[in-house]
Symmetry: C2
Subunit: 310 residues, 2 copies
């Protein structure tokens, strides 16, 4: 019986001015999924580790099995598969936890089936898992988790996914404060009407960010990392958000923003040294507030999900 283990990375969605349309992948931090062929004829989630018992084992509720089922349905295939999920990502942190599980499951299952799909074509199946996990079939976590790098979701009707280049030496610092922030709350504070002026400013910034990525223009990236639409409302839910912004700019980081719907904050920097300093500066900010934090530093991951070879 074939057995494959895949890794899929954490991701940052809602990248500042790229609210709802831009995500990128992180190195090292992520989930592992082992998929094993079986004679059962059905999908089974056999084991989950690292979730504190919070994730469902029922195949119709688990993101791994939902994603794989969507793939099998597309192929018109019945295939017995046993799934083992090893969570490396904290739940509900804004680092694309549910997306990483689905991405790893799909890449593993795709390998077992002889890779009938290219990576990009796995995205719609992972979106079905997001529909179960988050209530909306959004693609801005699953696409970068599968494909790596920066991924633009140009539109959903039809799905239009565009992989963007990653400037060499672009590092991300993820700062995860120990506070609970419900996605529903993050969503409810969003204004549903915005001014024409704000929309134009946002357009200018996302256009600048995309150009900065293509030109490896770190200054332009830095100038463009401004979200005038979601962040002003959501930042209020994260104590220390603006102090952190001041602090990381003073050590030379390019900019910061809310990862997904928070509470994790992402910081982009040119080079590992500054990314590490930004992490230290962030710890100081949250220490003053009296909140614990986890800090991760990694290059932006251009590879995405991959098969683990032992």
């Amino acid at each position: 019986m074939k057995q494959v283990t895949a890794f899929a990375p954490a991701t940052v969605a809602n990248v500042s001015c790229g609210f709802d349309i831009l995500g990128f992948a992180i190195d090292e931090l992520g989930d592992w999924v082992q998929v094993t062929q079986s004679d059962s004829g059905i999908l089974r989630v056999v084991e989950i580790q690292g979730d504190g018992g919070k994730l469902p084992l029922e195949p119709e509720k688990n993101t791994c099995s939902v994603a794989i089922q969507a793939m099998l349905d597309e192929m018109g295939l019945r295939q017995g598969l046993d799934i083992h999920l090893f969570k490396g990502l904290p739940l509900g942190s804004g680092m694309g936890s549910s997306a990483a599980s689905a991405a790893a499951a799909l890449v593993a299952a795709n390998e077992i089936l002889g890779n009938p799909f290219e990576k990009k074509d796995l995205v719609p199946f992972a979106m079905e898992a997001e529909r179960i996990a988050c209530g909306a079939a959004h693609a801005d976590n699953v696409a970068p988790s599968i494909m790596g790098g920066f991924v633009l979701i140009r539109g959903y009707d039809p799905l239009d996914v565009v992989k963007l280049p990653v400037p060499e030496g672009l590092y991300c610092t993820l700062v995860h404060p120990h506070l609970e922030l419900k996605t529903a709350d993050s969503r409810s504070v969003l204004r549903q009407q915005i001014s024409l002026k704000e929309s134009t400013v946002q357009s200018g910034n996302i256009a600048g960010l995309i150009a900065g990525l293509f030109q490896s223009d770190f200054e332009l990236i830095s100038r463009s990392l401004k979200d005038v639409i979601a962040e002003p409302s959501r930042a209020l839910l994260i104590p220390g958000f603006y102090e952190l912004r001041e602090s990381i700019r003073s050590v030379g980081a390019l900019g910061s923003g809310i990862s997904g719907s928070g509470p994790t904050i992402f910081i982009l920097s040119q080079g590992k040294e500054i990314a590490l300093q930004a992490g230290e500066a962030s710890k100081e900010v949250f220490k003053k507030i009296g909140l614990g934090v986890d800090v991760y530093v990694s290059e932006v991951n251009d590879r995405g999900a991959y098969i683990q070879t032992s």
Copy 2:
């Protein structure tokens, strides 16, 4: 006494999803400005041809002299200069007529003064002319007219102008219907409040358009050429707008939009052949409506304004 003539091209601003932030330059069609040193110690607009007598000769009202004066002020310089303006562009058509005059004047005067400014640094001076001509110091016509190619205005505070690449073989068809459309009317129909959803869709499209320009991905450019914010209101002021869109898509053009605040419509195509066919298709549309049109076909101009050498 030194004498220099410069040419500056027509431009398309408000490029679809790039409403208020993106413009590009056209080949051949444009204005010429001849600048001659004089002992007068003042700026004089000596002659204007091709405007039907509509443009002001007063130096404080003419876009050529206003732009040059802003440059001289920046240098703290008094310099007598005589200006001859030869309009190749129709006024009030949405092709950046006032911008082309200012751009040509600046490039000529800059040459006479020994090129103290790089092209990009001329943009703020031309914006002063736009303030006089249009009531707003916008940069999305003057920047591409001076610099050529596609130019992104990332933001105004401070001014942040980003030149973007032009895919080889990208052609523009300009269709100028013989109807008068007041800029004030075009502006008044704009909604000042838009939905979060619309803003997100617009962001996705402008991000896709920028990526398409960098990747020379004509399909992506085509999919991204959608404006959900300004166009739905403004198109109603231009009879035949949607019929033209259908018609040019059927001959294989990439897409169309309103040039500036209209009534001119721009069409982008891959290759001259399709651009010409799109022009013919457009003529048919307006013939049915009973409106005359002028049609111009040219490559997107990557050079911008230049000195005429005889």
